[in-house]
């Protein structure tokens, strides 16, 4: 316990990195998810196929493989491209950027499915009513689909977010100094790896518990006025 207090600075700093990583990648994945859902439901065949390929690949390949590929391969690719076109000399992808980018892209695939399902859950009659009132597509999205989509997508989003927080731990493998990395280094130097890994475990547990609480509150807020069936 004394060792943890001694190293609490590193642990807290790492926790802060983990939180930032989770929030930024979640924002990125929500944006990609909206784009993906739009593509999957659009009339454009090319957009549909692209989105289908994207979700298949991203949900089929483990996230750590993609993180390593983006971090090492992406850097190589950027440099080859730079030397080929003469646009830049040498670039280095930071671990944080690689983490946010990859985790965002991976969970964008899951968010695509969540948002697609949410849009399809909205009763068609409401959209027809919108059309009958002379609303155009954008107005229908803003006034009818958008607000209800939040409610329908919230359970799926909560699930994705909870998995996403845990996935950020993998970025420690490419050397990002998140809570796992810092905990590991501290454990190694004090020879108390169990104690420190257990502390890291607790950090994640607290983060999940807080998110759980917050998401439940949001769910309550967005389902105001909705009667749920008892056995649902």
């Amino acid at each position: 316990m004394g060792a943890i207090i001694e190293y609490q600075g590193q642990l807290l700093q790492g926790t802060w990195v983990t939180i930032q990583l989770a929030i930024f990648s979640a924002m990125f994945s929500v944006a990609l998810g909206l784009l993906g859902a739009w593509a999957k439901l659009s009339k454009n065949i090319l957009a549909q196929k692209t989105a289908a390929g994207y979700t298949t690949i991203v949900r089929g390949v483990p996230d750590l493989v993609l993180i390593l590929l983006v971090f090492y391969g992406g850097q190589e690719l950027a440099n080859q491209f730079g030397s080929l076109t003469g646009l830049w000399d040498y670039v280095e992808i930071s671990q944080f950027a690689a983490g946010v980018g990859t985790i965002g892209v991976v969970f964008g695939g899951y968010m695509t499915e969540t948002f697609r399902g949410a849009i399809l859950a909205i009763p068609r009659g409401q959209i027809e009513a919108g059309v009958a009132c002379g609303m155009n597509k954008y107005l229908i999205f803003r006034r009818i689909i958008g607000p209800q989509m939040v409610r329908y997508a919230l359970p799926g989003f909560s699930n994705n977010w909870l998995v996403q927080i845990k996935s950020t731990a993998l970025v420690s493998v490419i050397g990002l100094q998140d809570v796992v990395y810092n905990g590991f280094v501290a454990g190694r130097s004090t020879r108390l790896l169990f104690t420190f890994m257990f502390a890291v475990l607790m950090v994640y547990l607290v983060l999940t518990a807080i998110s759980d609480f917050g998401l439940r509150w949001l769910d309550k807020k967005y389902s105001k006025g909705i009667v749920r069936s008892d056995d649902g």
């Binding site: 090492y72 068609r124 845990k166 257990f198 547990l205």
Partner: protein
């Protein structure tokens, strides 16, 4: 002819396909380790999960609380940290290092991975089975009671068989999740599929080849598994589908709506 193909690939392919082909047997070996770890932890985890799910679905608070704590902890924390805890952490305790299990089991990366993965999947499977058990049709249980089935008999003949079937779609996700999670093994020195990819890249100082090969093989495995589960579901869940589902195309109903 063969030389011509190799020469062509050497000059024109952006990634070194020849090198991948030369080391492909290693990749297959890595895939075998991945499949082995995934399958064994699913079996062990499944065996742990069934009794725990029955406890969770029951109403004995004394048993329920520790099982809940177990599933909450393992579902709320990353598999990577759990694996580190076993592989790096256990050596901290002298009594473990001196116990008989240390040499052959607890100091071995493979066993630590298997233990961590099994407990992890057990936690997830417990909760999804609990959901399936709790959603058993009340009438079926009442009918069994009326026929004089004991509690044990009801579980064995009525509740569990239908709960397993209902859990199948969610379980197929868990299987793929476990396969994805097994990449963590490569971080504790195990030569699984990703481990081989990392080895290849490290040895030949490459950026793509190993990871891309591993990614493609993972994708193939996932597609085969999900195809298999879909066939299995069709077989076992036939009675749950609407009767005319075979005739109507489910996609048709949605096709009219586009944004």
């Amino acid at each position: 002819m063969g030389d011509a193909i190799i020469a062509f690939l050497d000059t024109w392919s952006p990634i070194d396909l020849v090198l991948i082909a030369q080391n492909f047997d290693r990749f297959l070996l890595g895939a075998w380790v991945t499949l082995q770890l995934t399958f064994l932890s699913l079996v062990v985890g499944g065996c742990i999960a069934v009794p725990l799910a029955i406890i969770r679905a029951g109403n004995n608070p004394l048993l329920n609380a520790p099982v809940w704590a177990f599933t909450y902890t393992f579902r709320g924390t990353p598999l990577l940290v759990q694996t580190y805890l076993f592989y790096y952490g256990l050596g901290q305790f002298e009594w473990i290092r001196e116990s008989f299990a240390w040499g052959p089991v607890l100091s071995q990366a493979w066993w630590c991975a298997l233990i961590a993965f099994s407990l992890n999947t057990a936690a997830y499977t417990t909760e999804l089975l609990r959901g399936a058990i709790e959603s058993t049709n009340r009438g079926e249980v009442e009918a069994a009671k009326a026929c004089g089935f004991s509690k044990r008999m009801r579980l064995k003949r009525i509740v569990l068989p239908s709960a397993f079937r209902r859990a199948l779609p969610a379980y197929s996700n868990e299987v793929i999740f476990m396969l994805h999670g097994s990449v963590v093994a490569s971080t504790i020195t195990i030569q699984d599929l990703l481990g081989v990819g990392r080895w290849l890249n490290g040895r030949y100082y490459l950026a793509y080849e190993g990871f891309i090969t591993a990614a493609v093989l993972y994708l193939v495995i996932v597609l085969v598994i999900s195809r298999g589960f879909r066939m299995w579901e069709k077989n076992w869940l036939q009675h749950l589908y609407p009767h005319d589902a075979v005739k109507t195309n489910p996609k048709k109903g949605l096709a009219n709506f586009r944004i």
